[in-house]
Subunit: 367 residues, 2 copies
């Protein structure tokens, strides 16, 4: 018999195991039905035990952002890794080539300088690295622009020794709400269409683009519905969070990750202060203006209205004004990825009992 | 001979040791000259080695937010601790009373329910706990309102067994910029005056208010200039950050804590992407609207315009457009407390050499 949820000192994060398992199954089933491979982004959880569950449900492998993060998953036996991130420093490139000896590995490129560095590292190590070209999908971050820039870079990657161009990927995310479910679906389809079109252009000049990888929790399934998309990389779908719910990408009843907190102060009728602040929930804002930093799971109209490092200030709607000093509450954070990243471990809960504790093994793996 | 700054894989945080030492000395000197005790808030650094330096420079002790955090400092031999936070859960109260056997300890109260819980814990343990009453300074967080509420609560604390009322404290911070240095100083003096007035009111009904504790980096010195303030609790002053500089509370040349990052992508003339995102810098916003998430130390007009978990997007002013893929830069984060909290360790640098590595020993100590 495990401890009870409320035996643990607050604040802490816990996962509702049954909900998480259902979310993992649902995405795997949807990907299978749409005929795409699923390669979840593990930055959301950073927990090898969860990656194993995702693979058992049918995922091809996992996506990661950093070499050090990928090493943690390789150490745990997850051996199909896509580092969807530009690795450009010599020392990091050396770690990358070492990692490629013990895991199937895909790398990312979006610049000529980056491609040349990757090529040098691969040839120095006497290996070949599989390369995905990142396409700029217009969000003002990384990626090469479609058209001439993409042609030239793809051709350069194909020509460089030690590199094997295997596909393209992009990230577009979704931060708008006004258009509702239809807006999100149209946005996701446009992502898929942009990638499929970019792949067709590159194939037309003879380049071998086998993989066309799209995704993010809000856009993965609409993108996957576009013929020619071969892979999706959603991250947050297994936990959910306030922003994913607000996007309409998940139902509130499917959210599986919560912060458990205690009311430490009750200074006004409409205000309760809990011991979960920005060091527990993260400061990531709401994509809905004015919606604060998360909501009370038992009463979603009650928001974390303001946040300090160790204080979450709840603006209490009438329904929540019975809260007293010492009461415990569960809070849904705005952004689950940055919240999990603040914790060494999460409690695994079923029916208010703690069944296990999972270490967030890749937390702090930044390099 | 230590390693060089650029031998370490990015991203990471480093402290400029000479600057930090100067900042520690300067605040200690200013407090001494104003005749107040200095009890720095250690949430900023969470590093016992730094607390020892603060004590060596003249600090009375340290301030903390959580019991688990205080335990780390007690373990390291720092034995004068003020937990400026309401501890209300039975298990946490038990840890608090255990801690009081090995360190001089001050506790915080802002509610009748909290005071009664503290009293029960103290009497169960057969000890007396020193109590500071938190006064609400109008920021909409914790604290008891001055006037009748404060009278009644202070009297209750004084009457409860196991508790000894020793003083009051408050936190007001400073988030406004428009008024410049004069605005900040007036704001800080008003903080000191409000606390001194609240203390006088409580003394008038016979309550023994010896300590009147104010502070925060932007307000500590103006508050300390008010006769009757006895202690200040600034945190960020030893490192500084973009928000503290923007407040005019520190000069840019005194900032001592930086994120070291590498340019991983250079997708447009005015855009460079570095490997330090919200998991390195934190998402804490700028208190100056439109100022992004930090600035380039070598060119403060270049801002981190947008932030993703592992991407910082620099909007490059003309002066910074020579940046290339693979180049390294130093970034000043918006808020140093939440940035440090994301890291297991920080590098200690003097003249571009790494002299030591300090573990952020109390990181993740949330309960």
């Amino acid at each position: 018999m495990g401890a009870l949820l409320d035996d643990l000192a607050t604040p802490f994060l816990y996962v509702d195991l049954d909900r998480m398992n259902r979310n993992i199954e649902a995405m795997a089933t949807a990907a299978r039905e749409l005929g795409v491979r699923l390669r979840p982004h593990a930055k959301t959880h950073k927990i090898p035990e969860i990656a194993r569950r995702q693979m058992a449900a049918g995922a091809t492998g996992v996506t990661l952002a950093k070499v050090s993060e990928a090493e943690v998953f390789a150490d745990a036996g997850i051996d199909d890794l896509f580092i969807a991130y530009q690795i450009v420093s010599p020392a990091q490139l050396e770690r990358l080539t070492r990692l490629s000896r013990r895991a199937r590995l895909r790398c990312a490129v979006d610049s000529r300088a980056g491609a040349e560095r990757l090529s040098t590292a691969a040839t120095d190590a006497g290996i070949e690295l599989q390369v995905m070209l990142e396409i700029d999908l217009g969000i003002g971050r990384t990626g090469v622009r479609t058209g001439v820039d993409a042609f030239q870079l793809a051709q350069r990657v194909a020509d460089l020794p030690g590199l094997k161009l295997i596909g393209i990927y992009g990230f577009r995310g979704f931060r708008a709400f006004a258009d509702g479910a239809e807006g999100r679906e149209a946005w996701g389809r446009a992502e898929g269409e942009a990638l499929v079109s970019a792949a067709a252009d590159l194939r037309a000049i003879g380049l071998p683009i086998a993989e066309v990888s799209a995704g993010s929790t809000p856009t993965a399934l609409p993108a996957a519905s576009v013929r020619g998309v071969t892979e999706i990389r959603p991250g947050q779908y297994l936990f959910g969070c306030a922003n994913v719910v607000a996007q309409g990408a998940m139902r509130a009843d499917d959210v599986a990750l919560f912060a458990r907190a205690t009311v430490i102060s009750r200074p006004a009728e409409d205000r309760a202060v809990v011991d979960a602040g920005s060091k527990t929930l993260s400061t990531d804002g709401s994509w809905e203006p004015g919606c604060g930093f998360g909501y009370l799971a038992s009463d979603p109209s009650t928001r974390v209205a303001s946040l300090w490092e160790e204080h979450g200030v709840l603006h209490l709607e009438e329904t929540a004004r019975g809260l007293q000093v010492g009461d415990r509450v569960s809070i849904v954070p705005n952004h689950v990825c940055t919240a999990v990243n603040l914790h060494d471990r999460i409690a695994v809960v079923r029916d208010d009992r703690i069944e296990a504790t999972w270490m967030v093994a890749a937390r702090g793996r930044l390099e």
